[in-house]
């Protein structure tokens, strides 16, 4: 019995996610389950996944955050709008220039945080204020309405829209096949890891738990594949999100670089005296954050198809919330990409569900605030319980 409780506790957020999803499905009379809403869930929340990945890396190093990323999304959108629409530069050149600006900002921020020892929230608070203003100023200078549009089709193709698009009335076979392939890979990986662990005589998950895990993963993947196949194909944004999530899962769990993020968050001085260049890692955390913020701005610019001064408002808070709800420690040193994904999805589902239920925008904020608080309280109580053991 205790074993089952442990499993429940470990996956509490995942279970809550399922319950919340079922709740909204019931409340909306099944509208949650429509293919178009599956599509919306992904493209409306792509930004959270990408930003929260960067935020996760910062938070791991000791609860450090980046408040400037939302404003920087707006600023980069304005820059992109000017480059592509006003100056009529090519998509490739524009993307490259925007990435360069992002790297430059990341280097400045990383330098301030890692080498000048400015507390991150102060250093990024400056960016939060400045980039919102600067972005808006650029937009007003280059347009009469404060909005630059239309963003060229070439750009949209890379960051929004769909791969192998088919009309909504048709069933997109490619999409479904991709789902099947992904499922096979996941199951094969699960089996392979277990077999290789057993072969070397290590403790592995029980057969039941592996099967349950595989079945659940396949179910989720195929559900999405089926729904998206009926919604016209795989959204490009999903490809970006999946690629980034997989890459950072790998970095955080399998590489020495990723390991150092955790140990710095756990004990910076011990890590430094173990021969790790802790300043360089801190620098990298913020450089990485800026690059991912630029990527976010691409996705956002492509989705809205215009550069607006309101773009990216409160994105930094969404990213932090996704991490915290996903169990990333506010003090650093623990948290995982998977947890963050669950947290971001939970927030996305709540957003979408409330929209479908026509909940008042103010109330949406109240509910989100309560969910965030509940997640942290839950996290801390669970940690205390473990301590008492």
């Amino acid at each position: 019995m205790a074993k089952y409780m442990d499993v429940l506790k470990k996956n509490a957020m995942l279970i809550i996610l399922v319950l919340v999803f079922l709740f909204f499905t019931a409340q909306t009379g099944g509208a949650m389950l429509s293919p178009l809403n599956f599509n919306a869930l992904i493209i409306q929340n792509a930004y959270v996944f990408i930003l929260a990945t960067g935020m996760l890396m910062c938070m791991l190093t000791g609860g450090n955050i980046d408040l400037s990323c939302g404003s920087f999304v707006c600023f980069m959108g304005a820059v992109g709008g000017v480059l592509m629409v006003v100056k009529e530069k090519g998509t490739g050149v524009s993307i490259l220039l925007m990435l360069l600006i992002g790297i430059l900002y990341g280097c400045v921020l990383g330098f301030l945080v890692a080498y000048v020892d400015i507390p991150p929230w102060i250093a990024t608070l400056a960016g939060y204020l400045a980039f919102r203003g600067w972005g808006t100023a650029i937009l007003l200078d280059n347009s009469t309405t404060g909005s630059i549009a239309p963003i060229p089709a070439g750009f949209l193709k890379i960051f929004s829209g769909k791969i192998f698009e088919t009309p909504i009335t048709q069933f997109n076979v490619v999409c479904f096949v991709v789902g099947i392939i992904a499922s096979i890979i996941v199951v094969a990986l699960n089996i392979f890891t277990r077999v290789s662990k057993l072969k070397k005589g290590y403790e592995a998950d029980s057969l039941v738990s592996m099967i349950v895990k595989s079945v659940l993963s396949v179910f989720v993947i195929m559900l999405f594949a089926y729904k998206l196949a009926k919604a016209g194909g795989i959204p490009t944004a999903l490809v970006w999100v999946v690629a980034i999530v997989l890459l950072y899962s790998f970095i955080t769990s399998k590489t020495t670089l990723g390991r150092y993020f955790y140990t710095i968050g756990g004990n910076k001085e011990a890590t430094r005296l173990s021969g790790v260049d802790t300043r360089l890692i801190m620098f990298f955390a913020y450089l990485n954050m800026a690059v991912l913020t630029v990527l976010t701005s691409f996705v956002v610019l492509a989705r809205t198809q215009a550069a607006n001064s309101t773009a990216g408002t409160n994105y930094e808070m969404d990213a932090i919330a996704a991490c915290v709800v996903g169990g990333v420690s506010a003090y650093g040193g623990s948290g995982s990409v998977f947890g963050m994904v669950v947290g971001a999805t939970l927030i996305g589902v709540i957003n979408l569900g409330m929209q479908l239920m026509n909940v008042d925008a103010d109330w949406q904020k109240i509910v989100k605030g309560i969910v965030l608080l509940a997640a942290v309280v839950f996290d801390i109580l669970a940690a205390k319980k473990n301590q008492n053991k």
């Binding site: 290590y202 590489t255 020495t256 756990g266 004990n267 430094r272 021969g275 040193g333 008492n388």
Partner: protein, 512 residues
């Protein structure tokens, strides 16, 4: 026999899965100093937490009889009202606040939430005088030394009208002089009728101050020794603590050949990183040979840790000058990474502060200083990492169910072993051990000494920094004595005695 002030009867406290205290009995007479000794994890702190109400009435079995009445403390303030005040090992002072503010923190002078500062500071000054401090109570805590901070803690306890004062390892962060002063203060208080319980690992201090000694082992009381009716020495106490006679506290090293000079430091001078004009290490020269244990003895603040860290890849200090030779060749180590590559290891003094990542498992801590040893092009081989952790766990006999256990859950001695494992895994030729046995119990100390012996047997060089004289004399081949940033003496361990080492320090002080 005097009046019994406190009696704890058949105290049993269970945590989920563990019986931390099992029928413990403790009797404290009014006006005596009662010492509580036992290995780490024996249950001393748990017992004191029961007494002070940190574990409220009802969560334990047994009775606390204080001043003739049975007590049912729900929280710390309940016990403090009765005059039972505990001073914890880790000082609970706010560094940025003044002595006076700290002294009345939570116990403010004044009416209806408004603080009367004049009363606060004049009262505080009164109590400071009682503990022999001449500082003004308006001085900030961060501007006085640890020794004086400990005295402020005591003054704070007095301000709470303490009748029974409990001191948990009061001298663990003090140097010899400050420790002695504190112990003498305790004896002074005793004359005035104060009753005290002292928890300490330093048995020489226990013998010095205690009237009675209660020994706790594995959560039960073993015996209570009366220092007035029988002759008590450290060996007698240790016998009670570990349950057997330890014939030799320092394992013999035999058949170790001392070879060539492995590391040499010449005219090493280091300045303080913030106050650039302050010399922390002043013109130090030293050497250590293969197979040799060199002890560096000095009081806290003598510059020992600063010397070690500055040698270890300049991880401390500014404007470092001097030569460092490893294996006869001069090297310039700019950061810890280069030091590790030069086969140097610095096993830090403070396990929790800068030694281990407590929130991570043993496996992660073991490999941290040598990630390339368990990875291939930046990708970690978790199987190999696991094997390495298990290998060192077995080798050093670390007590833990698995290497996936978080280091924070281990006892001090086992944490020290994990820290040693981490540095042994970097395959060093020279190990600098900074206070390798601080705060760990007698049994674990012995095991650490055995590990040191194994290291030198394997041809490594060990530099051991310590502020415990018996340990330095018992374990070293050669001893350097450090005071105020300088080396003031060097002697063979065979010629060293506690007296002539202390004489070195005193003479150097007078020479100025």
């Amino acid at each position: 026999m005097g009046k019994i002030l406190l009696e704890m009867k058949n105290i049993t406290k269970t945590f989920p899965g563990v019986k931390a205290l099992d029928n413990v009995n403790l009797q404290v007479e009014e006006g005596e100093i009662h010492a509580l000794v036992g290995e780490n994890g024996a249950g001393k702190s748990t017992l004191m937490n029961v007494l002070s109400g940190i574990y409220p009435y009802g969560t334990y079995e047994g009775d606390i009889v204080y001043n003739g009445e049975v007590c049912a403390f729900q929280k710390i303030t309940d016990s403090e009202k009765k005059g039972i005040v505990i001073i914890h090992q880790e000082l609970a002072l706010v560094p940025q606040m003044s002595i006076g503010e700290n002294m009345f923190l939570g116990n403010e002078r004044g009416k209806k939430g408004a603080i009367n500062w004049n009363e606060t500071y004049s009262e505080a000054d009164k109590y400071l005088k009682m503990v022999g401090l001449s500082e003004s109570s308006r001085v900030l805590i961060k501007d006085i030394g640890t020794g004086k901070q400990q005295l402020v803690e005591i003054a704070k306890a007095l301000a709470k009208k303490a009748k029974l004062l409990i001191l948990d390892e009061p001298t663990s962060s003090l140097n010899e002089t400050d420790s002695r002063a504190l112990l003498d203060l305790m004896l002074e208080f005793k004359k005035q009728g104060m009753t005290m319980i002292i928890i300490s690992h330093k048995l020489n201090e226990v013998v010095y101050v205690a009237d009675k000694i209660t020994v706790i082992r594995d959560g039960s009381t073993v015996e209570t020794l009366d220092c007035h009716t029988m002759e008590i020495d450290e060996d007698r106490i240790i016998k009670g603590m570990v349950g057997r006679e330890i014939t030799d506290r320092f394992p013999k090293r035999s058949g170790v050949e001392i070879g060539d000079v492995n590391m040499e430091v010449r005219n090493w001078t280091v300045f303080h990183p913030l106050y650039a004009e302050r010399k922390v290490v002043d013109d130090v020269s030293m050497s250590v040979r293969k197979g040799e244990v060199v002890g560096i003895y000095g009081l806290m603040g003598a510059g020992r840790t600063e010397l070690a860290m500055s040698i270890f890849g300049k991880s401390y200090g500014s404007d470092i000058t001097g030569q460092l030779l490893i294996g006869g060749k001069e090297v310039n180590l700019k950061n810890p990474k280069e030091a590790i590559n030069a086969k140097l290891a610095y096993v830090t003094e403070d396990r929790k502060g800068n030694g281990l990542v407590l929130s991570n498992p043993i496996r992660v801590n073991t490999s941290l200083a040598n990630m390339s040893g368990v990875s291939n092009r930046g990708i970690i081989d978790k199987d190999k990492e696991y094997q390495v952790a298990v290998e060192y766990k077995d080798k050093l006999r670390t007590k833990t169910p698995t290497v996936e256990q978080n280091v924070g859950n281990l006892s001090g001695g086992n944490q020290q072993k994990v820290l040693l494992a981490k540095w042994m895994f970097t395959d060093p030729d020279i190990l600098i051990l900074d206070e390798p046995t601080r705060g760990i119990d007698v049994g674990a100390k012995y095991e650490i000494y055995c590990i040191i012996n194994d290291l030198v047997k394997a041809g490594k060089s060990v530099v051991m920094i310590s502020s415990e004289l018996p340990e330095v004399i018992g374990m070293s081949d050669r001893i350097y004595i450090m005071n105020e940033g300088r080396f003031v003496g060097e002697m063979k361990a065979s010629e060293a005695t506690q007296e002539n080492i202390m004489a070195c320090i005193l003479q150097s002080g007078r020479g100025e």
